[in-house]
Every structure is written in structure tokens, then in C-alpha cells.
Amino acid sequence: MNFVAPDVNYYSMLPFITVLLTAVFATILPFYVSRKAIAGLSAVGLLVALAASIGLWNTNLSSFYGAYRSDNFALGFGIVLIVGALIAVISSVDVAKRGGTMQAEFFAILLYAVSGTMLLASAHDLIVLLIGFEVMSLGVYVLSSFQETAKSEEAGMKYFLLGGFASAILIFGIALVFGATGKFGLEAINTAVLSPEFKNSSIAAVGALFILIGFGFKVAMAPFHQWTPDVYTGAPTVVTQFMSVAVKAAAFAGFLHIFGLALQNVSGWQTPLQFLIALTLMIGNLAALRQSNLKRMLAYSSVAHAGYVGLAVLASPSQGFSSALYYLGIYTLMNAGAFAVLNVLSKDDDGLEIESLAGLGSSKPLLAATLTFFLLSLAGIPPLGGFIGKYLIFSAAASSGYYGLVILAALTSAVSLAYYLRPIGLMYFRPRVTVLPDFSGRSTRVLLVVCAAGVLILGLVPNAVYGLLELVKK
């Protein structure tokens, strides 16, 4: 029995390992060290992982026979995820007392979930991808029911049950895909599908469909989006922030990998996906119009944005990957920023009535200005990054011929202006009605300014980042 030495290349997994190590330390140390130190430790850990990912850029290493590959795509998503996690960690520091995220385990579980997302982003094997998916999901199930309030528990429960149901479907899909191709590796599946003696196209199609539904649920595409508003509103705001940004980005990484690489040539999933995207765009934007609670409105808006990124999945991999990555990068900054502002302004985790924002422009100028930046960028107003992101996605989808969807996306993003403009209008053009608590410490202020600057720079000088993404093209 010849013993085949496993090809383990630790250097390529450096960012993943650093996050894992920080998670382990964060699990052990809280018995000796104060909670703030743990937050600092996790932030440092994430920064080291960030540095490692940037270091690995363009190296295109892989280990475990290609099951774990740290190519530019994975590293790009890794960076986006780490930034999302960093924002969550920093903004959790100021609201720890109120947000019920006091226990030290909060950071441990958060970091484990982040490692899960990084695994998901760099996996080139269905099973590894599944494990990353599950680690992330379990982490977030726990985090969303972290607060001892009825709302948080209800959110956790709902998310867990529906999540379990969806992952069962996902696993059945993986089984069917294996059945049809006999392979787990993404490239291997693709070669199997293209090879002449590939016979089980219908099994593969059904398998692809099941995987589409599994990921559709996690990415919150209509009609599987229904859990998002309830869970986002119920969970603590910091967790919602992390979920809406990092979890969604990681899910899209998996989505792109599977449907961009493995099932590229399997027919049958494109039309349902178009139908899902159209539904998501409409439901996401229309439902948000009538919301009176800012947190719930941002939840529906994140559903809508899932629709926009879905367009990138449809587009050809060469353009689709880079525009999706750029969009998710910008989305992370602006959405996490918006949640950070919401976080410091609300007295509890039930979110904030939009009406109570009235007059914020004069009472808390910095918060109001940064929130305006984020909302305008979410709406896609030109000078800011949101516009460039939307433009790239629209042109990627248009170049693969999905004009109908692009026009629908344009119209729904016009509708989205209505509900993004309302808070801005209230903040600046209405006298103050209620006094809002302000938990923002120095760290959140710096965070907000950095995010707003990021959004502006990515809007004005996108080439600095987008140029790098050129290399993501396969």
C-alpha cells in the first residue's frame, strides 16, 4: 500500500491559519484578560491575516492537490471578508455594554465564522466548500441568538431551522452532482461535464438546481429571502452587520466558484437564476419602500443588492468575477458603515425608527454626513463608489446579453433612490424631534471616516483597485 504524501503547503494557507490561531487564542485567553484586550487581539489577528493575503497576491499557490487554492480571486474575497470582520469587531467595541455581546466567546465564534468564510472563498472542492459553508453558518446561528432577548432568540431559531433545511438541500445537490460526474473538485467536475462520455446531464442539472437553491437561500435571493428581514432585525446589530456583509460575500464567493467554474457548462440553471434575480430586484427594492424601521429597510436593501451581484454570476466569468468582487468590496464598506452608524445611534437592538433621524444633520454632523455618504453610495449616485460598482455589474451583464435584466436593475435602482433619499431628507431638511443616544466612541468615529473615505476613493479613483482585479480573470 504505497503511502502518498499529502501535499500540504502551509504558506498558501497563511491568512486562513492566522485567523484560526487568533480564534483559538480568543477562546483561551478571556479567562485571564479583559474583554477589550480580546477585541484588540482579534483586530490585530485580522490585520496580520490581511497583510498575509496582500503578500500572497499573484502567487497563485495551491495545496491539497488544488482543493485549497489561494489565487487572486480567493485572496480578493479574503481581503473583503477580513475588512468586513474588522469593521464588525471595531464597531462591536463601543456598543458591547448595550449589545449583549459582552461575553468573550463573541470574538472567538466571530473569528471561527470568519475562518469558515475564508475556507469557503478559497475552496476548490465541493466538500471543503460545504464545510466552510457549515462552519460559517453554525457560527452565525450562535451569534444571532447571542442576546438573551426574545427577538434575538427567535431570530437565531428561525435562521437555524431554515438554514438546516437549506443545507440539507445543498448536500443532496452535491450528492447528485457527484453522482453525475464522479468528482468533487470544481475543475474536475467541469472537465467531466465537457468530456465526451458524460451521460448524466439531467442528474447534473437537478443537482445544480439544488445547489442553486441552497446558495440562493444563504445569499437571500427571493423567494428564499424571507428569513433575512426577520433574522437581520432580530439579531444584535453588530451580528447583522457581519451577516449582511461578510456572510453574503462569502456565499457569493462560493456561488461564483461553483456556477462560474464547475457547473459553467451544465445547462438548466441559467433561466431559473434569471427568474430569481428578477424577483429579488423587484421584491428587495419594493418591500424596502414602505419600511419605517431603518434596520429592516437596510435588510431589504441587502436583499436587493444580492440581486445586483446575482447579475455578475450570470455574466461570463472573465468579467463577472472581477465586477462581483469589486461590487462586494464597495458593498462591504458602505453597508457595514451604514450599520455601524445605526449601531451607535440605537438604544437597543430593535433598530431605529427612520422618523427619529430627523434633524440629525445639525445635532450629530459627523454621523449624519457619513450616513449620507453611505446611503448615496448605496443608491448609486455617481461620484461615489456605489455607482462604479453598479456600472461594472451592468456592463458585465450587458456584455453577456442580459439587457432585459439590466434595464430592470436600472429601474429598480431608481426606485431604490426613493427609500435611500428619505433618511437623508429627514436628517437634513427636518427639525429635530427625538434625542438619539450616541454610543459612538473614538474608534467608531475613525472607522466611519475611513469607510466614507474608502467609498469616495473607490468612486473617484477606482482604477487603483479595479486594475489589480484584472488579474482575477481566469
Binding site: 455617481p382 451592468f394 456592463s395 436600472a410 433612490l417 482604477n463 479595479y466 484584472e470
Partner: protein, 487 residues
Amino acid sequence: MIHLIIFIPLLFALIGLFLRGQARASISIFAALASFALTAVVWIAKIDTVYRTPWIPGAGIFYSVTFDGPSLLLALVATLMTSITLIYFSNRKDSQQAEGMYPLALAMLTGLLGIFAARDLILFYVFFEATLVPSLFMLGLYGRKNRVRALTKMALYTIFGGLLMLVSIIATKLYSNSPSFDFLELFGRTSQLDLETQTWLFLGFVAAFAVKLPLFPLHNWLPDFHAENHSSGVADVMGTLYKVGGYGLFRFALPLFPAAAQNLQWVFMFLAAFTALYGAWIAFSSKDFKRLLAYAGLSHMGLVALGMFSLNPIGMAGALFLLAFQGVYSSALFLIVGMLEERLNKDVQNEKTTSQALEIGHVRGLAASAPAFAGVALVLWFASIGVPGLAGFIGEFSVFLGAYQANPWATALAVSTVIASAAFALTAYQRTWLEETTTTIPELNARDWFVLVPILAVTVFFGVFSGSALKLLEPSVQAVAGLLGGK
């Protein structure tokens, strides 16, 4: 040199944010005058080099700007009028409460100069939408009672049109598979496209420009925008300058899709003529001065659209001339209304209600106490209804002359606006200035004259010696007309 002109106002707007009171006023006025001076230098030194650097090379977007004929003329008018308006605003007593106007106006000026200079479609779109934000803030921060309704209406109209244009911009680049969005590269390729695609792409562009012009069905935001704006008229002036629909049509929509333009010519000419008549006809019975001027502006824009869609060189040159100089005298009328309102509202309360003073017929016979003021107002009203010898006539006459060659019936309809505009202008003028005196107002003082003299000079000078402005427009109109094969 060109970037200096475009970005000086924005730079000083940011600096101005940190200053207060008189310092902010003088900085802002200096910025506007500086950009005006530089534009004048560009005009005299005839610099029309195209400056082009990659902005997002991956997506084929380049930062290419130049000031050729029409954009230079429009830029001159924009910078001149902004500096005059800011000087006027600094004279006003209530400029302390609305200090935000300075940076916002300068930000808008940068946007406008960007629009006129941009040669890359995406760059044009970015400036086109970005200019909307300061305008919305001006309306929102310093508007009247139901300003938020007007604000949302304007925002939605513009964004809807804008996004449709964005989609057709993307589709243009793809269909004509040109390497970049640069107008010169797209220019040759799009005319080979078949008529059907050209028409769809053309309609995408026209949707955005029809909102901005505005043309009939999409004009509903304009009266509310002007009625609800700050009574000093600064926001209205910037709004008048922001009517870039006509320029957009001339620069991008018509040359890129000649076949579609010729095919749909008669539809849009009748629509434009109808808008002109519709605007003038409603102006006759509008109650409030601001609304009256809004509808008068709508009627002017109808004529600009008529000239543009006539695809006839004379018509287009006239439309550009009218577009440029209506920026001068229509804005001046808004300033006159502002001065009037300031004189009548001695105790300017900052409660944002529609002040009585602006209602037509509320006060009468002001000429008795301020004859010079009445004279200046009369000259500006005559310029706005196109009495020969003033700048309005040159534009209007050439628009009609050109449009008649293309479509006599639509022009006949449009010429009737000449009568309707005389009716509403003189009625409004008579209600406030003539008839028996009900109130007396102070005569124009030195500072008012300092604001009004340049405007009158420009209106009269370019009404008679219009040659120099026409020489500016000639080359590019000749090029576009040659392409469109106008009759």
C-alpha cells in the same frame, strides 16, 4: 489649464466650508471670477486641445475633456452668471442665514463645467448626475414649505432618466464594440448601426435629456423646483444653468445616432413646439412670479428642443445661442424677483412660507417709485420674449428659420408662442410695475447696478454684435449638420 477651470470652484467650495460670513463670501466670489477669467483666456487664446488620460482603463473609461465651441460658450455663461449671482447674494441681508449657498453653488458650477467639457460618455454621466446632489441640497436646506415633495419629484425624474441613459451608454459601447467610451471613437461606429438598435439607444439618451430639457410629459418637476426654492433666486439661477438637455442632445444624442434622429424627427419637433406653446400659455395664468418664470423657461426650452431636433444647421446654431443666452436673461429675471422680494419683505423672517410678495398683482405701480428698476425689468422681459436688438431674438429667429426648413407645420405652431409670450410677459409686467401705485419701493442702489449692468451689457451687446458668439458655434454645428445631412 482646463482642469483648473473645472475644479477651482469645487476646491474653493471645500475651503469655503471652513470659513464663515464675509470670508466665505469673498472666497467663493473670487473662485467664480477666477474660473470665468480662465475660461475667457481659453476663449481668447483659442485653446481647444483634447486632454485625455485613462480613468478606468479596464472598463475603457477615459477622462477626456476639452472646451470646443459650444461648450466654451456655455461655460463662459455659466461662470459669469455664477459669479454675478454670488456677488448679488452677498449683498442680500438674509445671506447670513443661508450661508451654505456659496459652497453648494460652487460645487454645482464644477458639475456644470464638467458636463460641458466631458467628451467621455461615462464621465459626462458622472458629472450629469453629480450636479444633481448640490441642487437637491440647495432646495432641501433653504427651500420653502413643501420643498421635500419638490425635491423627491425632481430627484426621481432625473435619476429615472439618468439610469435609462446609463443603460443605453453601456449598450452603445457594446453594440459598436469600440475600445472606449470616448466620443470621437464611438462617433464613427454608431452611425453604421442598423436603424432599429439606433432608435432604442437614441431613446435611452433622449429620455434623460427630455427630463433635463424639460419636454412636455416630463416637465412636471420644474415649476415645483422653482416655486419651492430659496427666495433669493440663487438656486433658481443654478437650476436654469443646469438645463443641459439641449447641449446633451447636440453633443451626444444627435451625432451618435443620425439615422434614428432623422427617423423620429417629426415626432420630437411637434412635441417641442407643443411644449413651447404649452409653457407660454400656462405662464399667462400662473399666480406666482417664480412659477411664471419656470413656465417661461419651459417655453424657451421647447424652442431649444425645436432647434435641436430640426437637424438643420441654422436651427441648431440658434438653439445653442438661445440656450446660452437664456441662461443670462432668464436668470437675471430670477434675480430681479429676488431683489423685488427683498425690498417688499422688510422683516425677512426665515420661516419658509411662500411669501406674499411674489404673487403677481399683490403690489402694483412700482415704476412710480423705482423707474430705473422698472426700466431694467422691462428690458429683461423684452429680451426673454425675443424682441430684436436683444440676445433672445438671434436665438429664437434662427431656431424658427432652421426649424421651418425641416418642418413648416411644427414651426407654425411654435411661432404662435411669440404671441403668447408677449401676452403673459406684458400682463405680468403691467400688473406689478404699471397701473396706479399701491406701494413704493427703494430705487436700485449702486450694488444692485453693479450686478445688473454686466447682464444688460451682455444681453444688448450679443443682441446686436452676435458675430463673435456665432463664430464660436460655427465649426461644430457645421460638423454635426454635415453628418446629419440636414436640409
